[in-house]
Amino acid sequence: MICNTKTEFLTGLRIALENNNVTDTRDILTDFRQHFEDGEAAGESEADVCRKLGDIDEIIKQYITEDAEQKASTPDASGFGANAGTGAPEANTGAQVNTAPQTPNYYTAAQNTASQAPSSGSKAGKIVGLVCLDVFVFSWAVPSLLSVILGLIGTTIGFVVSGIAVFIVGMLSFFIDLSGFVVTGFVPLSLIFLGIMMSALGGMLVIASIAAVKGFINVIISIINLHARWLSGHNILEKIGKREDD
């Protein structure tokens, strides 16, 4: 994955780290965020920093390897004993400083454990649970939430449009005698102010609607991710409007 911006890079890196169960994700992201900040302070563009950092997949591969070696060098990791013994001359210190040729084995081992972990546990039970949730909760919660939001959007449009219309009528009634078309008890100036007030209310409703739509999309994403997590072990979508550093 090739990125051009800091946000793109950090988000991509975080998702990849989480999906591969790399430890100390927060610490790693701090390192890279600081790298970007230092790069910018030194006059480099985000795209330049991204290009020099290289492919996220390549970085992730390294972290997976490091994690696996770390596990392998702890005493309780059985099965790696034979490998550790082969580095005879450096055996005293070699446990931590693994020599390069051993790497491929560990990498495969790490990938195996990573891909097996999510499938452990009762998959059938999870599927039944998901179906129950879908049928009994999401089936009514999502449509009712959607109808509330659509209602909000409708109200918003009503306020904005009628506010503008009243404003225009107020303006026109200065110049044209509209008494034949519009029945109002208002003087023109109060019509103008009424129009402005209604538009302003409409404006506030626009902000509320946008927040509601964003929230709704995030709820949907959460539901999809819940399914993905239970079925395959990791999230597949990133929430919108989320800061990359939380």
Partner: protein, 106 residues
């Protein structure tokens, strides 16, 4: 350069630089990339490995301008490993150079 060879020697590079003083990530990466072509992002996984193994450590320095900054420093065991790897590398490169220069003894 072959990645395996580079990986082993990069570790020695990081340890050697930190032996001479504490550095923050960007600084360290730039020192190395100033000397050879590297994929900069791969230095950080290496740092994590060295840290997990206890050969280097990190600490946070609060700064007036901007967010706090993370510095890396070498530990005693890191120094010992640096010494060992430096000797190993010098012997190895001397041997290789001899062969490359055709000075090997028959």
């Amino acid at each position: 350069m072959q990645s395996q060879l580079k990986r082993g020697t990069l570790e020695l590079c990081v340890l050697s630089i930190l032996c001479r003083g504490d550095r923050y990530g960007y600084e360290l990466v730039n020192i190395i990339s100033g000397c050879m072509h590297i994929t900069e992002g791969t230095i950080y996984p290496l740092m994590k490995r060295l840290k997990d193994a206890g050969n280097i450590d990190s600490y946070i320095v609060e700064s007036q301008e901007g967010p706090p900054r993370k510095y890396y420093n070498i530990t005693d065991s890191g120094r010992a490993i640096q010494k060992e790897q430096e000797d190993e590398w010098r012997n190895f490169s001397t041997a290789i150079n001899k062969i490359l220069d055709g000075e090997e003894q028959l």
